[in-house]
Amino acid sequence: MRAAVAKLRGAWPQLSALILMLVIDWLIFPSFFQLRLVDGRLTGSLVDVLVRGAPVALLALGMAGVIATRGIDLSVGAIMAIAGAVAATSIAGGSPWYVAVLLALLAGMACGIWNGTLVAIFGVQPIIATLVLMVAGRGIAQLITSGQITTFVDPQFAAIASGSTVGIPVPILIAVATAAILGILTRSTALGLMIRAIGINPGAADLVGIHRQGITFAVYVTSGITAALAGLIVAADIRGADANNAGLWLELDAILVVVLAGASLLGGRLSYGLTLLSAITLQALKTGILLAGLPPQMTLILMAVAVSLLLAIQAPATQQWLARSARRRAAA
């Protein structure tokens, strides 16, 4: 019980950021929280935020593990494009939807294996190692689609983006399920402890006998797979694969989400729950800007301002100041 309270207190910057964004959205758009069931699927602005936030949430979930080991994965956007291209091409070639999904996931896994090999086995710096695939990945995706935007008609595959189960849209289910699986995997085994130990002190991790190479490899493979899931949702949403634009710059959104979730780029912190929360915060911010009817050229600037504010609120210096003034108030 005490641990639960402590955990909640640790999460308050992320929780308050999310609540703040939702309240702002509600002020801009009073019917923000209205939910309706349309054709057995929940709809409404809030649901929209969750659905649109799902791809970045998935990227961030994979990225969280990588960053916790003091790494970074710049290639997730390109992996989305590759996974989308593989899925679209195989459906266009007549494969059933589940084969397309399987192939796309395998492609994402292969990309993760490539990154993991460079980082964990050859010891290349993560930012350089994953930059390779970030640049080359779109080329690979274009080769797969022969340079065209491949479109297809397959209602079952499209359901990955637009379908729902017991009223809940499938993208939300995929993101939540992925977070749950990763959370359970790292908590019910010793992986969470080992990932954090590697991020905090890689040399000491080796000296206590942690299999650093294997675990580092695994977080990059996981990131490749979650990126492929995100790619599948986007491909299913537009019913096609756009090698040039699918997932473009989303690796930066993913890194931003992980940092908003309280992780340090120096590694050692890992929370899939907070990562999911922060992905929703970022999407609520983007949606809010759209709902406010601001000109699109303002979007990026406002995002930058808002994100800087959120990060400043969460910064250790601010937190210490707040703690100090709270103590002072308590003393007075």
């Binding site: 019910s188 085994t189 010793a190 992986l191 402890l193 080992m194 954090r196 130990a197 905090i200 002190n201 040399g203 000491a204 991790a205 080796d206 000296l207 206590v208 006998g209 942690i210 299999h211 675990i215 050692g268 912190r269």
Partner: protein
């Protein structure tokens, strides 16, 4: 010469000849958790070469930092030629004529020799740098130290030795009165060392006070007039080099901190647990032999850089051996990584806690459990209840003082961190425990507790290999002592041979032979 009889207070040589150039009294400096300098006195005369000696962590570099303005002292006074001074940064110290040339030479290799020499004081003409004048000035200042270089070539095109000399030339040009040379010969070969020594002697003859830091004993005696020894942040006094025999210097540096330590040999060493035969790695350490029996402690002695820590790295698989074999219970095993070693019941607590062992943001509990968890593998997670039981038991057994075992280990004192690290390895129930400097940088109370623990573990049948600079305590609990020198195992002492004199003789032998 009997090291045991030398008292510590009789070395405050206070000759009055020679003007006191720099006089530091009662210098105290503490960092969170440790006292780096404890009211240290240090005086430097004009025209002398004064060696500052001490093992790692003795306080040499802190003292230099305080004197050159890189760190601020907590207490004490510093006088330069009789005038009290306060220096708040290195630039202020340099204006007063106090210069330091550090091990990693701080010059700019992409700039020319002349630019490096005259940095901050470039000659100007019509507001522009006067390059001809710059070259002339640079040439003349290099000639002062007997160096003839093309001053318009980039400094990076010269050897490390020359760069070192140019750094000294910079201080000379600025009329340094006090020149600190911090390990200046570490990367030089013999002729270059001779050249450097010639220059240093010339500077001293002109009245510059030189502070010389090195770990090469023969160089200390070749160059210095006086020697000051620091240990654990305290000064053990200053002596004329001619009055301080090598073996005495070594024994002062290494120290005998537990005056009442009595040799308590193991009850009865039993079966052979591990044998490390002929392990070697190029450039780290030459082939060495260590056999460890249950219920026995083997000590490893030697100066810094003697290869003593490297033996531990090879025995734990942290460095791969080029050659040699490891036998555990008479079965040959391969140690390709620490993981292999842990699986075979070997544990290793490294010398540098902070960089090689502590996960500072993880809790005390996590820091303790992590080795056992790694031994079990990631799939077999230790349950929360077992984790609590194991860590509570060890925290109590080792008297780790922490208000809350769930708080980050980084907030604990050095001694308690060290105890938690021992707890980490005891949790794995190792058969062989390798400890590198287990008592360095921790307070006296924790120190005694760790020594007791070592004896206790030994008596309960564990095989220990302990590396330590604290010679007396090492001799107190070791059944045999392996002496390392110049990356070679030079002696394996046992039984009646286990005396401080013998260990020091073995450590100092090489230098004496030269």
């Amino acid at each position: 010469m009997s090291a045991g009889k030398t008292s510590i207070d009789d070395q405050h040589v206070t000759d009055s000849d020679g003007a006191q150039l720099l006089e530091a009294r009662g210098i105290t400096k503490s960092y969170p958790g440790t006292i780096a300098l404890d009211s240290v006195n240090f005086s430097l005369r004009a025209g002398e070469v004064h060696a500052l000696m001490g093992e790692n962590g003795a306080g040499k570099s802190t003292l230099i930092k305080v004197l050159t303005g890189a760190e601020q002292r907590d207490a004490g006074t510093v006088e330069l030629a009789g005038t009290p001074i306060e220096v708040h940064d290195t630039a202020a110290a340099q204006r007063l004529g106090i210069w330091a040339v550090h091990q990693e030479v701080m010059t700019l290799p992409n700039l020319t020799v002349a630019e490096n020499l005259l940095m901050g004081a470039l000659p100007r003409r019509f507001g522009l740098v006067d390059r001809r004048e710059m070259s002339r000035l640079a040439q003349s200042s290099l000639q002062q130290i007997g160096l003839d270089l093309d001053v318009d070539r980039p400094l990076g095109s010269y050897s490390v030795a020359i760069r070192q000399l140019v750094a000294i030339g910079r201080a000379v040009r600025a009329d340094a009165r006090v020149l600190v040379l911090d390990e200046p010969t570490a990367s030089l070969d013999m002729p270059e060392v001779e050249r450097l020594f010639g220059i240093v002697r010339g500077l001293a003859a002109r009245g510059t006070g030189i502070v010389f830091i090195t770990h090469f004993l023969d160089q200390v005696y070749a160059l210095s007039d006086r020697i000051t020894v620091l240990r654990n942040g305290r000064s053990l006094g200053t002596a004329r080099a001619s009055d301080l025999p090598r073996s005495e210097l070594v024994s002062r540096m290494i120290g005998k901190s537990l005056e009442d330590a009595v040799h308590k040999p193991a009850a009865k060493p039993s079966g052979l647990v591990a044998r490390f035969s002929g392990l070697t790695r190029d450039r780290l350490v030459e082939p060495f032999e260590i056999a460890l029996h249950a219920g026995e402690a083997v000590g490893a002695a030697g100066l810094l850089g003697s290869g003593r820590s490297e033996t531990a790295l090879l025995m734990f698989g942290a460095e791969r051996a080029d050659d040699g074999s490891v036998q555990i219970d008479n079965t040959t095993v391969k140690l390709k990584s620490p993981r292999d070693a842990v699986r075979h019941g070997i544990a290793f607590s490294p010398e540098d806690r902070k960089t090689d062992a502590i996960f500072s943001e993880l809790s005390v509990r996590d820091n303790i459990i992590v080795a056992l968890q790694s031994k079990r593998g990631w799939l077999r997670r230790i349950t929360a209840r077992d984790r609590k039981a194991i860590t509570d038991r060890l925290i109590e057994q080792l008297k780790v003082k922490t208000p809350d075992a769930d708080k980050p280990i980084g907030e604990l004192s050095g001694g308690n961190q060290q105890k938690a690290l021992l707890a980490r390895w005891l949790a794995t129930e190792p058969r062989v425990l390798i400890l590198d400097e287990p008592t360095r940088g921790i307070d006296v109370g924790a120190h005694a507790e760790i020594v007791r623990l070592i004896e206790d573990l030994r008596d309960r049948g564990m095989a220990l290999y302990v590396i330590s600079s604290e010679l007396e305590e090492l001799l107190a609990y070791s059944d045999r002592v392996s002496v390392m020198r110049d990356r070679k195992q030079v002696k394996l002492l046992s039984g009646d041979e286990l005396t401080i004199e013998n260990v020091i003789a073995a450590i100092a032998a090489h230098e004496a032979a030269q």
